[in-house]
């Protein structure tokens, strides 16, 4: 009879885990197209993923979309507002990194960031330079120019806002924001502030600018001082709410589990109250289930020998409604010899619950020098010569099985019960 603890050589676990890996790995680079965007290309295209998104959406090349935008932008400037609207309104989704070259994630992301910062600074410089060079040509003076500060403000805002894209935001609020996020925010703020200052102090002397700057900083500090307690309290409330929500979820989980298991069993017990045997069995099974849920005992019989023998003992308990007190020390990987031991132990336990008297105790010691298992019952003992044929057969199968796997088995008859002793040598040096 195939039982759940039969040895299965196929390593399904690691393989399944491996197949889970790629999406996880790709989740990170997928953020790259949304960061690449701030690259200010010579073609004049800012691409915060918009072109990429449209290209993916329409199934055309990204370059083509970019060129279309550039053309639109040149043709009366239609492309710019269109682009901005798309940028603002296009939701971010979790896509695989389409078009992102495969490669080690760590190696790619950080140079990407560095390049991004360089391009940003270079771009800002170019904008400023262009503005400075352009204003006299247009005919205005640098001081009276509105365009330049506006550009700077816009740049600062974009830099600061780019921090708040969807994926970032959660990390940011979760307190896991890295230095880069804060740096970007500070840079954006500084740019925007500079722009505003330049805008409002237009046409005034440098001292006036300094005064204005001082006044602005003073006001900001004042606002911060006034707002800080509120912000702190808001933040605290937010955290508390998060914790409360987590607790509520946990409680709901526990309630759901108790409902599915304990309450159902209690209902069953009430209905079967006339049958003590099944009540005991139900109670015992439920106790075990709850215990393993609460204390997270060994799970997954294919993983370790300790888990396998525990499962065997539980199975026997369920089959016969006789409690088996199992103690296991140590552990080792589950392989074919261990599988043989757990099957032999199953036979011994079956014998004990069928022919012996409770309490049935089992002790499995898994050490570096081998495995020893003891199954003991409190039966009256029996005479070897009068052993029924089937029981001798069982004994033979226990004995024979252990010997085939390089181990040994011994049945000891005591005046107060029977003890079956199973031995298995250490893993190394076992003939395969």
């Amino acid at each position: 009879m195939p039982t759940p603890y039969e040895y299965a050589p196929a390593s399904a676990g690691p393989a399944a885990a491996r197949s889970d890996l790629p999406p996880v790995e790709r989740a990170e680079p997928h953020a790259v197209p949304e960061r690449l965007p701030l690259v200010r290309d010579r073609s004049g295209g800012w691409t915060p993923g918009v072109c990429g998104a449209i290209a993916r959406h329409l199934g055309v090349s990204r370059r083509l979309v970019r060129w279309v935008f550039v053309l639109l932008a040149l043709a009366g400037g239609v492309g710019i507002p269109a682009y901005i609207f798309l940028w603002a309104l296009t939701p971010e989704e979790d896509l695989d990194g389409t078009g992102v070259p495969d490669g080690p994630v760590e190696a790619r992301v950080s140079p990407e960031r560095r390049r991004w910062a360089l391009v940003l600074i270079g771009g800002a410089g170019l904008v400023l330079l262009g503005g400075v060079l352009l204003t006299p040509v247009i005919g205005g003076s640098l001081r009276d120019s509105v365009l330049l500060p506006l550009l700077v403000i816009a740049l600062g805002a974009i830099v600061a806002w780019s921090n708040l894209d969807e994926a970032k935001r959660s990390r940011w609020l979760g307190g896991g924001g890295r230095g880069a996020g804060w740096m970007r925010l500070a840079l954006g703020l500084a740019l925007a502030l500079t722009g505003i200052l330049v805008l409002v102090t237009r046409g005034q002397s440098l001292t006036a600018v300094w005064d204005a700057l001082f006044a602005a900083v003073a006001v900001l500090v004042g606002v911060l001082i006034v707002a800080a307690p509120w912000a702190v309290r808001l933040w605290g409330d937010f955290r508390r709410e998060q914790v409360a929500a987590a607790r509520a979820t946990e409680r709901a989980d526990i309630a759901a589990h108790l409902h599915d298991s304990v309450l159902q069993t209690l209902a069953l017990i009430q209905r079967k109250s006339a049958d003590p045997a099944s009540v005991t069995r139900l109670a015992r099974a439920q106790e075990r289930e709850l215990r393993s849920w609460l204390y997270a005992g060994p799970q997954g019989s294919q993983e370790s020998l300790a888990a396998a023998v525990t499962e065997v003992a539980h199975e026997i308990e369920d089959l016969h409604g006789v409690p088996v007190d199992l103690v296991v020390t140590g552990d080792r990987p589950f392989e074919q010899h261990g599988a043989a031991l757990s099957r032999a132990m199953r036979e011994a336990l079956l014998n004990a619950v069928r022919h012996g008297r409770p309490p049935v105790t089992a002790y499995v010691e898994i050490g570096p020098n081998g495995v020893e298992a003891f199954v003991r019952d409190r039966g009256d003992g029996f005479d070897l010569d009068t052993v029924p044929e089937d029981r001798l057969g069982v004994r033979q199968s226990v004995l024979g099985r252990m010997e085939r796997h390089g181990g040994s088995a011994r049945v000891r008859h005591r005046d107060d019960g029977t003890e079956v002793e199973l031995c298995l040598p250490a893993l190394e040096g076992v003939p395969e």
């Binding site: 204390y295 103690v327 020390t329 089992a362 002790y363 010691e365 570096p368 107060d416």
Partner: protein, 241 residues
Amino acid sequence: MTQPGRVPDRGSARPPIRVVLVDDHRMFRTGVRAELTEAMSGAAAVCEFVGEAPDVDTAVTVIRRDRPDVVLLDVHLPGGSGNGGVDVIRGCAGVESTTGGPVRFLALSVSDAAEDVIAVIRAGARGYVTKTIGANDLVTAIRRVADGDAVFSPRLAGFVLDAFGAAAGEIAEVDEELDRLSAREREVMRLIARGYQYKEVAKELYISVKTVETHVSSVLRKLQLSNRHELTAWAMGRRLL
């Protein structure tokens, strides 16, 4: 720790062991009381219940007032500083029973999680049994604890073998070594883990029951005093040290 001049069986001449039962479930207290009374009917009363308590603070008050010989102590209890049975043992440090010996604690729990076991034993309990124990075994355990011996369930023995590395073959060179078991102690623990009673262990190893009790008490002492990494790690995790 074992009383030197103790006679293994004092018979009916001995005054009943005064027991306090601490458990937060009234049903369980009633059940244990009834079971023990039934188990002791016929023979001379081995023990008498002098009080019970449902939480840490009541327990400390009751134990300080009644000064029992043995306290049957649930591991998980409300009140105190949140450590359940450990708080009771701490709160009753230095209290003497009416017969002059220290008040002794026998932990009684539904949980056999290692950290629960280690916590109460290290706090000073003389034994640990699960609540599924039979009435007669419980009477034996109470008597044993009252005599200053230790009570080990098979699971506690298995845990000791694991924690001291005895299952992995680590054996103390000298008996006094606190971090390992001696070869004999290991044998005794192994037999207890296999479900042997003390007298069966004695028969198996050709030693007296008293010697078995000495070995078990010595293991208990090591369990309480050892700084072995596995033991302290659990205790530290629960901020018990």
